[in-house]
């Protein structure tokens, strides 16, 4: 891993007791024992203080509170939950909310980030400048301020009666974002399954084509067959079910909407804030990645008459991804961590619910430990997944 500092040279030739003090290895060992002892003693001292303080304040210790009844409601949830459920389940609801807002944020940030990053290297000066201005603004305003700003904007939107009409596709109001959705139909599950099967079939087909090319030297263009393999099965299933095409339109009714799907104002504000903030950083990462491929390589590829698609696929992308992926990983992790800003605008994420639990039970140490452990685990899993992907795209030295 790291290169240790080169140590001082060798041991003295003869060993006397006095020499021991001047011996490099002895001193190194001594320092380390002292450091380790210091850390352990500090830990013990702090632990003892905590136990004493908690005992004096009559606060329970341990994680038993996770099974106690929470007695608070959570407005937004992906799994069943009521105030009669346990604290543990409340935290689980929070975790799901953290993950869902982060996942949506990552998608939005990636799409905007890549678009702006490509604009940053555009040959069009105007586009370049616009992208640069965007990046400088969203990167340099604190993310909390952005989230609070969007929350205030949505809170001040008109009520559902006068909601902003999004070209007939949905509404934006102070109740959040409401949009149309295909009406629920059993075909959807099967279409999803067919889609997954299509992806599997396409990857098998692509691998066979590559084997064929490596064995015979003959190139089989798999772009359209693969697109057909992926999109075909879901379409066939859809047709097989008689092509159900009913849509559930949101309609104004009284003070709210019926039909369609609604995303809460807090979710929209939080996601907009953290996604826009990250998109600025992602744009810069993408720009650096694109600029990492020397011009000469693209020109060389063109001069051997490689098709533009192949130049992108085999020359530019492999080198760009190599530069983009590692910093992109840390951007994703930091976006997930930024989702904890939810507590400011009242979105029930893990930290917000953890905070409530902490205030109700008084068990600050355990509640914070739960939050920290979960975030450490999320960071770790994200890093591992991205490292795995990174190993796929990294330089393969043969």
């Amino acid at each position: 891993m790291t290169d240790a500092t080169p140590g001082r040279l060798g041991k003295p030739p003869t060993r006397r007791p006095k020499d021991l003090l001047y011996s490099e290895s002895f001193r190194t060992a001594l320092y380390q024992v002292a450091l380790a002892a210091g850390v352990v003693l500090l830990g013990l001292y702090l632990y003892q203080n905590v136990v004493e303080n908690l005992g004096r304040q009559n606060i329970a210790t341990g994680f038993g509170f996770l099974d106690e009844v929470s007695q608070f409601e959570i407005g937004e949830r992906l799994i069943d939950y009521s105030s009669r459920d346990s604290y543990g389940r409340a935290l689980l609801v929070g975790l799901m909310n953290t993950l869902s807002v982060s996942a949506a944020g990552i998608v939005v940030a990636t799409v905007i980030g890549f678009a702006v990053g490509i604009m940053r290297v555009s040959t069009n000066w105007l586009l370049q400048r616009i992208a640069l201005t965007y990046v400088e603004i969203v990167r340099n305003i604190p993310v909390i301020l952005q989230v609070i700003f969007w929350a205030a904007v949505i809170r001040n939107l008109p009520a559902p009666r006068q909601a902003l009409d999004l070209w007939g596709l949905g509404f934006l109001s102070n109740r959040g974002l409401t949009f149309l959705l295909p009406a629920a139909h059993p075909a959807h599950v099967w279409m999803l399954a067919a889609f997954a099967a299509g992806i599997a079939a396409a990857s098998v087909a692509a691998r066979m084509a590559r084997r064929h090319r490596e064995a015979t030297g003959r190139y089989v263009d798999m772009l359209w067959p693969c697109i057909g393999l992926i999109l075909g099965p879901p379409v066939l299933v859809w047709l097989g079910f008689g092509a159900p095409h009913e849509l559930s339109f949101p309609e104004r009714q009284g003070f709210n909407f019926t039909g369609g799907a609604t995303i809460s104002p807090e979710f929209v504000a939080l996601m907009a804030g953290i996604a826009l903030y990250s998109s600025g950083f992602i744009a810069e990462i993408v720009r650096a990645g694109i600029q990492a491929t020397p011009r000469g390589q693209v020109e060389a590829a063109r001069s051997i008459a490689l098709r533009p698609r192949f130049i992108l696929r085999y020359v530019v992308l492999p080198q760009a991804l190599r530069v983009i992926v590692p910093p992109l990983t840390s951007q994703y992790v930091s976006l997930i961590k930024n989702s904890s800003i939810a507590v400011v605008i009242g979105y029930p994420d893990l930290v917000n619910i953890g905070n409530t639990v902490m205030n109700q039970t008084g068990q600050a140490v355990e509640a914070i430990a739960v939050m920290m452990t979960v975030f450490l685990a999320i960071s770790l899993v994200t890093s591992l997944a991205m490292n795995f992907y990174n190993r796929l795209v990294a330089i393969k030295e043969r």
Binding site: T2, D3, A4, T5, P6, G7, R8, L9, T28, Y31, Q32, V33, L35, A36, V39, L46, N49, V50, E52, N53, L54, R56, T123, N124, W125, L126, L127, I130, I137, N140, I141, P142, V143, I144, L145, I148, F149, A152, V153, N156, V333, K337, N338, S340, I341, V343, V344, V351, N355, M358, A364, V365, I368, M371, M372, F375, L376, S379, L380
Partner: protein, 373 residues
């Protein structure tokens, strides 16, 4: 069969390429063609984008300048106008900039900010970089700022830290973060590269576990858990705890950046220092760190700017920095509908300081490149 001779030499005259002249200015026409009107498609794109841009610019001017109300004490005047209400910033600037600090004592904060800015600007100027100047400067600044903020002497009423707020608080948090965080960061980075495995282990665990959690949880620890660590009867000021919390979080990120700089130092530098029989600390202080910090300066700056933005996280634990103060002011039912103007003002404050920091960092990089420092 006779072969026709193949012509290898061109017949037409070579168009002379003008010698490269770095100072030559590109004619406007050439620049426009190359950057905006390269092809028909590009030209159309440029025109379309320019049209949208002009439209937005017109809207912004119309809203923000032509129809805006810049000064009034009556919110109804703003309500009647179609444009922005900058009057909210004028009307509410004191609670926004100074938070909960007693109203009659705000002059102390103005004076404090003047002393603070003067001290920082002087310390950033290379000509002032010697201890004989900096030590008295900072001693004087810390003393006078402390007296101004706390009061309790010279007839100034005492103001507890719980009533501090606004922009001065943001400045103090930021300065505290950097002043405490940078030395910790250097120690952590050195620890991670130390020849002692135990030191390496402690640093790695510390850095990685703190980098894996959100700043908010560290603030929770500083506010809710840290008091439990102390023996009964011992208390540490909440503001100080929070500052140290942000500083340690900052240090963990900065340590990784400095480690990058340390790794870029060639082995030969260590070996040369060893052969001169310099000790570890002499080598580190005189040879390694000056180079490592210079190398990693751009990334260090990024994290320092991030630290400035991160001070805004204190809104979660109820410290009244400029953002919290503004959010609180926006609860006022008379003015709350002009929140966009108020938040734009706060954003402008952050953008200004961030811009100033990054310009200064670029200047330092130029000084380093030219060998001045």
């Amino acid at each position: 069969m006779t072969l026709a001779p193949i012509e290898v030499v061109r017949r037409e005259a070579v168009v002379p390429v003008p010698a490269y002249d770095p100072d030559a200015r590109t004619p406007v026409g050439v620049w426009l063609k190359a950057n905006l009107f390269r092809s028909v498609g590009q030209s159309l794109l440029t025109l379309a984008v320019a049209a949208v841009l002009l439209r937005i610019l017109w809207f912004v001017l119309d809203w923000g300048v032509f129809n805006a109300v810049f000064y009034t004490t009556d919110p109804d005047v703003c309500r009647a106008a179609t444009g922005a209400c900058w009057a909210v910033v004028v009307e509410k600037h004191r609670p926004m900039l100074f938070g909960l600090y007693p109203y009659d004592e705000h002059w102390r904060l103005v004076l404090m900010m003047a002393i603070y800015l003067a001290t920082v600007v002087l310390s950033l100027w290379p000509r002032c970089w010697n201890l004989r100047f900096l030590v008295p400067l900072w001693t004087g600044a810390v003393l006078s700022i402390g007296i101004l903020m706390f009061g309790g002497v010279f007839g100034l009423p005492y103001v507890p830290t719980s009533e501090w707020g606004g922009l001065p608080l943001t400045m103090l948090l930021f300065t505290g973060t950097v002043l405490i965080g940078m030395p910790v960061a250097v120690l952590l980075a050195l620890g991670r590269r130390a020849p002692l495995p135990v030191a390496r282990g402690v640093s790695v665990v510390f850095i990685e576990s703190l980098r894996g959690v959100p700043l908010i949880t560290i603030l929770f620890v500083a506010v809710n858990v840290f008091p439990l660590f102390l023996p009964a009867g011992v208390e540490v000021n909440k503001l100080l705890r929070i500052t140290v919390g942000i500083a340690i979080f900052f240090a963990c990120y900065q340590a990784e950046v400095i480690r990058g700089g340390l790794q870029a130092i060639p082995r030969g530098q260590y070996e040369a220092a060893t052969s001169l029989s310099l000790t570890y600390w002499q080598t580190t202080r005189r040879i390694i760190l000056p180079q490592a910090l210079r190398i990693s300066l751009p990334a260090i700056t990024n994290h320092i700017i991030a630290a400035m933005k991160n001070t805004s996280f204190v809104i979660i634990i109820g410290l009244f920095d400029i953002l919290t103060a503004t959010t609180a002011v926006m609860q006022d039912p008379l003015w709350r509908r002009f929140y966009i103007e108020a938040y734009l003002f706060v954003a402008a404050v952050y953008l200004f300081f961030g811009y100033a920091l990054s310009r200064y960092a670029r200047q330092v990089e130029k000084w380093i490149a030219s060998g001045r420092i």
